[in-house]
């Protein structure tokens, strides 16, 4: 029971607990905060694999920017507590055993066809220079195409957020 395994289980528990809490909470802001906890726990898991750069970027980008956006939207739209919907008995009767059975089957198939051994820290390339080599040398074209995709998204956001009179004046 090495310290590595204990840390892995601890971060994993926070991850799963946060994800379950996300679904169980009724106020969206609590769900958003649980998702932030999940992101932080994932960053911890990346650190345990030795991927330090990815862990830092996970915190900076996902927990620090994307989730801030989520929280902003919840605050600005004044999203309140969700209303209760009528539960479905069929979903409970067939759904829960169905989900359990299918997840057990999937895990069994995956474990059967994979080599399961713990990855020691440092086995996979995690140093920023390795990632830079992959990103800007081996996978340069997908990287540039992704930035064009993000540029299109930004342009779409600017068009959607612009004032209607401005677009009407351009058309008419």
């Amino acid at each position: 029971m090495s310290f590595h395994l204990i840390l892995f289980l601890a971060f994993g528990a926070v991850c799963v607990g946060g994800a379950v809490n996300l679904l169980a909470q009724r106020h969206p802001i609590n769900s958003a905060l649980s998702l932030i906890a999940v992101m932080a726990a994932l960053a911890g898991e990346y650190l345990l694999l030795g991927a330090e750069f990815v862990a830092a970027v996970q915190v900076i980008v996902y927990a620090g920017a994307i989730m801030v956006l989520f929280v902003f939207v919840i605050m600005l739209l004044n999203a309140g507590v969700e209303e209760e919907t009528k539960g479905s008995r069929i979903a409970l009767l067939f759904g829960v055993p169905g989900v359990l059975t299918s997840s057990v089957l999937m895990v069994w198939v995956v474990l059967r066809h994979s080599v399961t051994e713990a990855v020691p820290i440092g086995a996979l390339p995690g140093h920023p220079t390795d990632i830079a080599q992959l990103l800007f040398h081996d996978f340069l074209l997908p990287f540039e195409v992704t930035s064009v995709l993000i540029l299109i998204a930004i342009m779409g956001a600017v068009v959607l957020a612009s004032k209607p009179e401005a677009t009407a004046r351009k058309v008419g």
Binding site: I29, V68, F72, M75
Partner: protein
């Protein structure tokens, strides 16, 4: 020192780390209290009045008096707030403000009892990214405080503050990338070590003289906006939004926001010293015992100069209007930071 340094066993390492953490935390919290004192004195003298003078000589016991006041004040929790987040937001602000001090190196290693102890709580390979990550998480304290107060002034103040912090984070990060390209590592100790030595025998090889002059000024402006200080303090301006996101807070919770703001200031000053001004490098004079401790003195002197600059700017400039602030960040600072990055990259690749 002729003897070999002993390697640290696990137990000794944990003990040393705990002692370092407690010491650094104690020093940081005292520094926060006395930065408040310094600000009140300096701004007071700039405005042609004395600052605190009654409590202790030169008002030096004023922070202690303020601390006692905060402890004894009534801790109001208004009935209309969203309690869990109302209580958690100041804690989050303080936690994230105090975390980033753990990767800041104060000096070289000092030999104690035969062990070589580096003057840093931990030297992670991604030290600079850790500071940026903690800065981006610091937005939550402000945003959630503003929202959970259930009060239109707080909500607007919180949203403005978080939008400002998110916008200037980009320029902040990009200004640091110039330094990273020149140093080749994210580890703060490596970045400082690369700034040793001198040009022409007398100009120190600090990054600000070594090509990052514009980068330094971009960092400075972005950092003033990140820490919500004048001239970028519209989110907490009294004339605009009552008190912005901390309107509904009293006593200890307000003190926590206050502590978080000044701890952020100190962290920014430390990072500026490390990245642009050579960290603890400075003339080493005197006997070997003094020489082992002198780097820490140089580091603290440089950090003090930055804090004084922060307070000086606070006493001098008027604040930006919100739209001026946002357009400055996005339309001027960000393109300038990108241009600085491109110029540095070309210069290094030449």
């Amino acid at each position: 020192m002729g003897e070999e340094a002993k390697a640290l066993s696990v137990g000794v390492f944990i003990l040393v780390s705990v002692i370092k953490s407690v010491l650094v935390l104690f020093v940081l919290l005292t520094a926060v209290a006395y930065t408040v004192w310094l600000e009140r004195k300096v701004v007071g003298h700039m405005q042609n009045r004395w600052g605190p003078t009654r409590v202790g000589p030169f008002g030096l016991l004023q922070p202690a008096a303020d601390g006692l006041k905060f402890l004894f004040k009534e801790d109001l929790t208004p009935p209309h707030v969203y309690k869990p987040l109302f209580l958690a937001a100041p804690m989050m602000a303080v936690i994230f403000a105090l975390t980033s001090i753990s990767v800041i190196p104060f000096g070289n290693s000092i030999p104690i009892f035969g062990y070589n102890i580096p003057l840093q709580i931990t030297d992670v390979n991604i030290g600079l990214l850790l500071i940026l990550g903690v800065t981006s998480m610091g937005v939550y304290g402000v945003a959630l405080a503003g929202w959970s107060s259930n009060n239109k002034y707080s909500l607007l103040g919180g949203l403005r503050a978080s939008a400002q912090m998110v916008s200037y984070e980009i320029a902040l990060g990009l200004s640091l990338v110039g330094v990273l390209i020149q140093s080749g590592s994210f580890s703060l100790r490596t970045i400082v070590d690369a700034q040793g030595g001198r040009f022409l025998g007398f100009i120190p090889r600090w990054n600000i003289f070594h090509g990052q002059f514009i980068g330094f000024f971009i960092y400075l402006m972005a950092a003033y906006a990140e820490t919500n200080r004048i001239p970028f303090d519209l989110p907490e301006a009294e004339t605009e939004l009552v008190a912005g996101y901390h309107t509904e807070y009293s006593s200890m919770k307000f003190a926590m926001f206050f502590m978080a703001e000044y701890a952020n200031m100190i962290t920014v000053a430390c990072v500026a010293t490390l990245l642009f001004f050579g960290g603890w490098h400075g003339p080493l004079i005197g006997p070997p015992l003094v020489q082992a401790v002198l780097p820490v003195f140089w580091f603290l002197a440089k950090v003090f100069c930055f804090l004084f600059l922060y307070i000086w700017v606070r006493g001098t400039l008027p604040r930006f209007r919100y739209d001026q602030l946002m357009s400055f960040g996005w339309k001027f600072l960000l393109p300038l930071a990108i241009a600085n990055l491109v110029a540095t990259a070309i210069a290094v690749a030449w």
